[in-house]
């Protein structure tokens, strides 16, 4: 598989749900028998994962929003999504 063919469109797994936690004032990812507390950036990344945007599109959207091009955003987004993928909460498609 070449780099161009590698599935790069991140999606939230159907078992996971993004939810606002009013009591603690934060967003959380809920899934069977567990949850992940999100910081504002994490929640923003997941909201951009609409099943259409690729990782590069998500990075570009964030860079545009905050005007911070360069390697930092891409590294953070990839690490965050890969971490959730390792828990089975995010899957990559094409």
């Amino acid at each position: 598989m070449t780099a161009a063919e590698r599935p790069t469109v991140p999606r939230l797994h159907p078992k996971a749900r993004l939810q606002h936690d009013d009591v603690r004032g934060r967003d959380v990812l809920l899934y069977p028998e567990g949850l992940v507390a999100l910081n504002p950036t994490g929640a923003e990344i997941l909201e951009l994962c609409d099943g259409v945007r690729s990782v590069a599109d998500v990075v570009a959207a964030l860079e545009q929003r905050y005007g911070a091009p360069g390697g930092g955003v891409e590294r953070d987004v990839t690490a965050f999504l890969d971490g959730l993928a390792a828990k089975g909460l995010v899957t990559y498609g094409s």
Binding site: K15, R17, Q19, H20, R24, L30, P32
Partner: protein
Amino acid sequence: MDPKPLWLLAELTYKCPLQCPYCSNPVDFAGPRFKRELSTDEWCRVFREAKALGVLQLGLSGGEPTLRADLEALVGEAHGLGLYTSLITSAYRLTKERLAALKAAGLDHVQISIQGADAELSDAVAGTASYRDKIAAYHYTRELGFPLTVNVVLHRRNLHQVEDLIRLAESLGAERIELANTQFYGWALHNRDALMPTKAQLDAAWRVVQRERARLGTKLEIVWVLPDYHEQYPKPCMGGWARAYMTVTPAGEVWPCHAAGRIKTLTFENVREHPLDWIWVHSDAFTRFRGDSWMPEPCRSCPRKTQDFGGCRCQAFLVAGDAGLTDPVCSLSPHRHLIDAAVAEVERAPGAPEWTYRAAPASRALAAKG
């Protein structure tokens, strides 16, 4: 900062068509204490109060929760509040239509127990022919798009089937399989000698789990609930007393875990008499062992106290006779010999004794004994 609960286990009824001898329900479930079940409106109020208190995860359990005709209404209320809802069911006579109605009401996740990897053993352990219904319900669950957890309580008579159970869950397309080694409370404590596995059985099963985890990766999550009698240190029970978790029983008593009601030295409050918030913050049952100021030695000066919170209060009460002692499972506990004796008994005995099935007549007899 005061802890706030994340988890609520709603035990909607203690009625159940299955009769599993390790049931975590109280042995006196059929007695007067649990007689008058909460109404639909009372449960909905509990869910609203729980959400306001910080709860995000709701387990709908029992007994058998699908025996409640208002289950769809309860799921609908919880879903509207933004709670992540899990149905914890035996799937006895559970139809695809009922599951579809629950899906429409907003149910998020289904957990279905199984008692063995084949009909013969599963039905023998359950005491009720239910294997066929379970297999059918697993398929309905997947067809309807629910994430699925297969739950198995492991003990002496089914530990040899761990590999078959994992393969079954894999073939069903389940997300998770919970391999829950029997924890000795409720009916399981009553039947402890019949259920206690040998060390060799546990070691063999654990090797299978490690190998299958490596093979399956994230395709199937394999949860292995530790057999704590065979461990050196206690489990961090409920993540610490009254830190994140609460159980509401069918008649409205609120407990820090689903076994805590057996601790006779605690006073439990009822949602019919107090708001959930008050019970969580102020009631005797929730405040007595919160934090670490209650701890005796060897816990008080132990560096592990922030990891295991002194272990399990119920086990301290049930085995060592005092809920305020170190969990007797801990190798540092002066009561560890009581655990060792129970473990040694099974290694010595050639065959396991018979168990008592969880059923109302046996429960009423045990309730009368007190």
